[in-house]
């Protein structure tokens, strides 16, 4: 019993919050003004508790497993959810169904936790569904906007499609090996054509979730249509969780098929970087822009994964942590501006620095971090990913990746230029930022600056393995 409590601590905590919210909802309900701070405090407590009482082991006959690294990954996701609840306060306060929104978001988070911890293809499939369906409902949360419904529709259809492919892959794999357990699979994999086919189907499902090219087409529309809080959740939490399980599946389960997936990974990484970057060049809407930029970032994550080494794991986890801060800072600024003025175009950001220097600096820091320019943490994150990718001595691959960093710098600079240099007759007027949002933005900014220079964060991640 005690073991059950400590091993499933993260899941139980999130479940407890979900039930608490349900009780509040069905009793008499709270006004948004008091419910939101309550949820924020609960999420903070949840995040802090994530660092205590951790242990390693598995449950339910090796269905569920956890380790210090997995606990750390869950903490990253917890942190991201907490920051989203702070950053998007402006929009959250205005929604009619705040309690439901958090119910959905936390259910999805619970699904992701189970997914990261899954040690069996069945539980993996179930938790993946739990992590996806609530998000589709969340995407539809701007009830009066057509685009929001359109995005939700696209998301649910493509998710259903990828789930189908995943199930097909799982059943083929089961047919070929006779097991669905992550621990038994590696011994039974020999790279026969049927297994490769099954693997490709599984890979495709991951590719859908991570929006790896050519399975990225849903991303931009869903990101653009959804409310910013949901876009942020999708691009940071959802991506991060899938990246973690994707990596551990490849390393742990499909190790015998290394040759197959290495080639696949490298080719798709290059395609994903290039496509994300080239499409981001001409975007006008900041959310679409960030959507394509996040596709490009996934390409770099794939590059890190391709190392098939301890350093790959550390680099990816570290990068996702930095990515949480950088991307959420960018989304946070976009959320503040959109919440106040409804403006979401890059052209509207012209002259932002004159009226809102604080937002201007945070946005610039975030974009520089995404571009991988020092002294921001993004520089270290990207470089470690490339170092990991270089450990296989694939010089042309690092060269292509490094050249991609130049393309990405071009479009990130476009936004910086709009904010700092371009003149605008009617710039966005001075925005009053509430203290909690300001705090969250400062946390993000501090994270972007400090995470790189404080090397113990990386060393800590390294020591968890």
């Amino acid at each position: 019993m005690n073991e059950f409590l400590t091993l499933m601590k993260s899941e139980l905590l999130v479940t407890a919050i979900i039930f608490l919210l349900l009780f509040i909802k069905i009793s008499k309900g709270l006004k948004n003004e008091s419910l939101l701070p309550l949820v924020q405090v609960l999420l903070l407590v949840n995040f802090v508790l994530g660092f205590f009482f951790n242990s390693e082991g598995s449950l339910f006959g090796d269905m569920f497993t956890t380790s210090s690294l997995i606990a750390f990954q869950k903490s990253i996701l917890n942190l991201a959810v907490y920051l989203i609840s702070l950053l998007c306060a402006g929009w959250l306060k205005k929604t009619q169904h705040l309690a439901e929104f958090f119910l959905l978001m936390l259910s999805a988070l619970l699904g992701m936790f189970l997914m990261i911890s899954s040690d069996n293809l069945l539980i993996f499939y179930l938790s993946l569904e739990l992590a996806t369906i609530p998000v589709a409902a969340m995407a539809n949360f701007d009830l009066d906007k057509k685009r929001s419904s359109e995005g939700a529709m696209k998301m649910i259809l493509s998710s259903a499609f990828s789930s189908g492919i995943l199930l097909f892959g799982i059943s083929l794999l089961y047919g070929a090996t006779g097991t669905v357990s992550f621990n038994e699979l590696p011994g039974l994999l020999d790279g026969s054509p049927l297994q490769i086919l099954a693997f490709i189907f599984l890979f495709t499902a991951f590719a859908f979730k991570l929006s790896i090219v050519p399975f990225h087409l849903w991303t931009a529309d869903v990101y653009e249509g959804s409310p910013i809080a949901v876009t942020a959740f999708l691009s940071v939490v959802s991506k991060g969780a899938v990246a973690f399980i994707f990596m551990s599946t490849l390393y742990k389960v499909f190790q015998p098929m290394l040759d197959t997936w290495y080639i696949l990974l490298v080719i798709l990484a290059v395609a994903t970087m290039l496509t994300g970057n080239l499409f981001a060049l001409r975007q006008q809407n900041i959310k679409r822009f960030l959507a394509f930029s996040s596709i490009a970032q996934v390409g770099f994550i794939l590059a890190g994964i391709s190392s098939n080494d301890k350093i790959g794991t550390s680099a990816v986890v570290y990068f996702v942590l930095i990515y949480v801060f950088s991307n959420l800072a960018a989304f946070g600024v976009a959320a503040v501006i959109s919440g106040q003025t409804g403006k979401e175009n890059i052209d509207d950001y012209k002259g932002l620095y004159k009226t809102n220097p604080f937002l201007g600096w945070i946005l610039a820091l975030a974009l520089f971090s995404l571009a991988g320019v020092p002294p921001t943490a993004g520089f270290f994150g990207k470089l470690f990913l490339l170092t990991a990718a270089g450990s296989t001595a694939a010089y042309w691959f690092i060269t292509v990746a490094a050249l991609n960093m130049i393309i990405s710098l071009y479009y990130y600079l476009r936004v910086v230029r709009a904010v700092f240099m371009d003149k605008n007759e009617q710039p966005i007027e001075k925005i009053e930022i509430s203290p909690s949002v300001k705090m969250a933005l400062i946390i993000c900014g501090a994270g972007i600056v400090l995470l790189g220079l404080l090397s113990w964060v990386f060393e800590h991640i390294e020591s968890l393995q």
Binding site: V373, P375, L383, Y395, I398, T399, I406, F420
Partner: protein
């Protein structure tokens, strides 16, 4: 001496600038900070001379090593040799002059000085780093400040220039990154410069990696044909920005070409030396002739920078000890000279509101001080004995001449001919602006340099004279380090 002070001083100054209340405070804090930096650089020089006088023949001095990402073999490994000391001294001169000439900036003063100091921080950190990763980190730090300085405070087609500069420099960085990772995995997973210099790197690998590193750093120092960001970037930047760009940032590239590419990959350097010579000879001549066609003072200096920096690369390509010493001298000399040149152009532009040579004339009458400085810097640029330019270029030619085959001789002669062209454009520019009848009535009302501008100019002129009249001390600094590099090339 503790080298961290060199990073700490600009960092603290930058933070203090951010916290300051008004423009007055910002300016004085920056000035105080840059005086401290100058003092530190001077103290470093003295300490270094003491060490060498005491017979310390180590490869690097004042070494310090703190683990950073130790699992990846990345450390805060700092240390200086003669080259670094000279470069740090140059940086501190340019920084203080840059702070002084920007005294009257009114637009977003705080941000302006903050970015300038960040740029200085990057340069100091770069010159003292002995770990390639940290070196790269400091090199890249300066990209954001450069971009913003040009884009916000610049003039002309500033957005275009800022973008071009940022992207080209980032491209150079990308190449450096690949070369750096190549070294990392060839060696024993270490970014340490000293450790790498002791590992035997196979010749094939050297041939493969050398172009990445040399061209990558070459972009920073206007290696032909990747120099195109220089004219646009320099002419669009604000005065202090141009001074920092040409005076410091371009030297980062030269230092990297020599200290990283050539030093770590001597076989690669031998393989590609002829190409380097050809490219730099083209840059020298092309830069000189292109300058002849320019009418904008800033473009004149920008193109002449391409030509002058070519001498550094030529010296490196010649692979003799004297030529390499000359290349290093040229870096220091050009840094001081070009910073002063841009400072003078800025002073003239602030007053006449034009940079076109043909719109000016007779400025000697209303602006005697500024015009005199303009003369001095012009003469330095065309290599008048007694000023730093002569010493540096002469050393490069001497070193080049030591290679006695036809190819090297031809290249040397071609490069030397550029001096004639330089004389033409420099004398013409000075003649048209300072001499002759006063072109406009309004010019007579102009006020000569203020205290800050005088001080800035005097500091830089002092540097130029110190090298020009008594080059011995600089030679003493640079020669042992150049010898060390030559030993590597000769395979000792």
């Amino acid at each position: 001496m503790n080298l961290l002070l060199l990073i700490g001083a600009p960092l603290l100054t930058a933070v203090a600038v951010l916290l300051s209340r008004n423009r007055q405070q910002v300016r004085w804090i920056s000035l105080a900070g840059s005086v401290v930096q100058l003092g530190l650089a001077a103290a470093l020089l003295l300490a270094f001379r003491q060490e060498t006088a005491a017979g310390n023949t180590g490869q690097v001095f004042f070494e310090m090593n703190y683990p950073l990402f130790s699992s990846l073999g990345i450390n805060f490994h700092f240390g200086v040799d003669g080259i670094s000391v000279a470069m740090i001294l140059l940086t501190s001169f340019v920084v203080i002059a840059g702070v002084l000439v920007s005294w009257n900036i009114e637009k977003m003063t705080k941000e302006f000085y903050f970015l300038l100091l960040l740029l200085a921080l990057g340069a100091y950190g770069f010159f003292i780093s002995l770990d390639l990763f940290i070196l790269f980190f400091f090199l890249e730090i300066s990209v954001i400040p450069k971009y913003l300085l040009i884009g916000i405070w610049g003039s002309g087609k500033k957005e275009y220039s800022a973008n071009k500069l940022a992207l080209m420099l980032m491209g150079g960085s990308a190449l450096i990154l690949v070369g750096m990772l190549g070294l990392y995995f060839t060696g024993e997973h270490s970014f340490d410069l000293l450790a790498l210099s002791k590992t035997a790197i196979p010749a094939d690998t050297q041939h493969l990696l050398f172009p990445f590193l040399f061209v990558g750093f070459g972009v920073f120092t206007a290696l032909f044909p990747l120099h195109t960001w220089v004219p646009d970037g320099h002419s669009s930047a604000p005065t202090a920005g141009s001074m920092f760009l040409a005076g410091i940032s371009m030297k980062l590239g030269g230092y990297g070409c020599l200290r990283v590419a050539t030093y770590l990959l001597p076989e690669g350097a031998k393989q590609y030396a002829d190409i380097i010579i050809i490219l730099s000879a083209i840059a020298i001549l092309y830069g000189a002739f292109a300058t002849m066609m320019q009418k904008d003072l800033k473009y004149i200096n920008a193109y002449s920078s391409v030509s002058h920096v070519g001498f550094s690369l030529l010296g490196i390509g010649m692979l003799t000890q004297t030529a390499i010493t000359g290349a290093l001298m040229q870096m220091v000399s050009h840094g001081l000279m070009t910073a002063l040149f841009f400072a003078v152009i800025g002073m003239i532009y602030d007053r006449t509101h034009t940079r076109m040579v043909n719109e000016m004339g007779g400025l000697m009458k209303p602006l005697p001080f500024i015009s005199t400085i303009f003369f001095i810097v012009g003469l330095c640029s065309l290599g008048l004995p007694g000023l730093s330019g002569f010493v540096a270029e002469m050393t490069v030619f001497m070193g080049s001449w030591q290679n006695d085959d036809v190819f090297h001789r031809v290249a040397t002669i071609a490069a030397a001919m550029s001096i004639v062209v330089t004389a033409v454009y420099i004398l013409r520019a000075i003649g048209q602006t300072a001499m002759g009848p006063v072109k406009k009535e309004s010019f007579l009302q102009l006020k000569d340099a203020g205290w800050n501008e005088r001080l800035a100019a005097i500091i830089l002129v002092a540097g130029i004279l110190a090298i020009g009249i008594a080059p011995g001390w600089l030679n003493d600094l640079l020669r042992p380090a150049a010898e060390e590099i030559m030993n590597r090339i000769a395979g000792k």
